[in-house]
Symmetry: C2
Amino acid sequence: MKYCSQCGAKVELRIPEGDTLPRYVCNACRTIHYSNPKLVVGCIPEWEDKILLCKRAIEPRQGLWTLPAGFLENDETTVEGAARETFEETLSKVEVTDLYALFNLPHINQVYVMFRGNLLGLDFGPTPESEVVELYVEKDIPWDRIAFPVIEQTLKLYFQDKNRGEFSIHTGDIVRLPGNGRKYKVKLHSNR
Amino acid sequence: MKYCSQCGAKVELRIPEGDTLPRYVCNACRTIHYSNPKLVVGCIPEWEDKILLCKRAIEPRQGLWTLPAGFLENDETTVEGAARETFEETLSKVEVTDLYALFNLPHINQVYVMFRGNLLGLDFGPTPESEVVELYVEKDIPWDRIAFPVIEQTLKLYFQDKNRGEFSIHTGDIVRLPGNGRKYKVKLHSNR
């Protein structure tokens, strides 16, 4: 941020009075501009013993597989956002059912909230964001071609829970390690 | 938003190509400015059969009671944010334990994520945000003087769960009804 979005003057990065963190502050109109993490909402769309995956048509991670998920928009709930993203990325309609996982990705200022959902039919197909949309049973999941660690972790937990016959709600942190490699530390919280 | 925070030119509200919602777009430098809901993280600090409440020293809802909660900051996890807010508003140290509730407040573009936490000691006291900080047993909770519906709902569920001897994770929507009154509709989701 370089200019005040309210009055167009140059902003300054400093700790406002009574605050503890640096913010972009406008010395002309006195607006303090806050920047906060974003919520990504997504869904595991279920059909019998299968789930719906998308092969990404766009960067980042084009050509790799993911679950439908995206930024929560203003004026919508997390459940509505998860259903909207599922439709936008797969053309499928889902009834979003249970909260399934909450993951913190503090290195990119994102929090993922993932739900489970019932596919309401088999009308799905490619979209501008997904070049292929397909149902997968567990043994066919392309584990070495999953786009994002948070999605890989969600899928792992999902099939573990499914195989033991009981779903619980999972929370944890997924943090990228320093360096050039795509290496991540996954820390699951144990709810009592 | 009136001016581009990147280049200082005037912005225009329109639907960008390939998008479905209006955004503030800069026709000079081509930046698209997104606005998304914010995450509020908070804690129910527990000590024996009591929980810690704060009497608000500032607006909104000055003089009414709440649980420690506030906006998640960049570079922190929801658990870290809940502990930080608890310290800032009560001077107490907590070990944040379980995820307890996720509430959508779409009318103000907020999502609340509330945790339970163990108070690590009895060092707590007033702060710039809380004129009184006090431990409460259930029968003494000032139910008619709770600051926010989302906090009232969280406390209700908490004592219901506590009295039946089992805590679960709750999700739901709390939406302000049209009109001048402070009237809200609470819709709880039932996880399977």
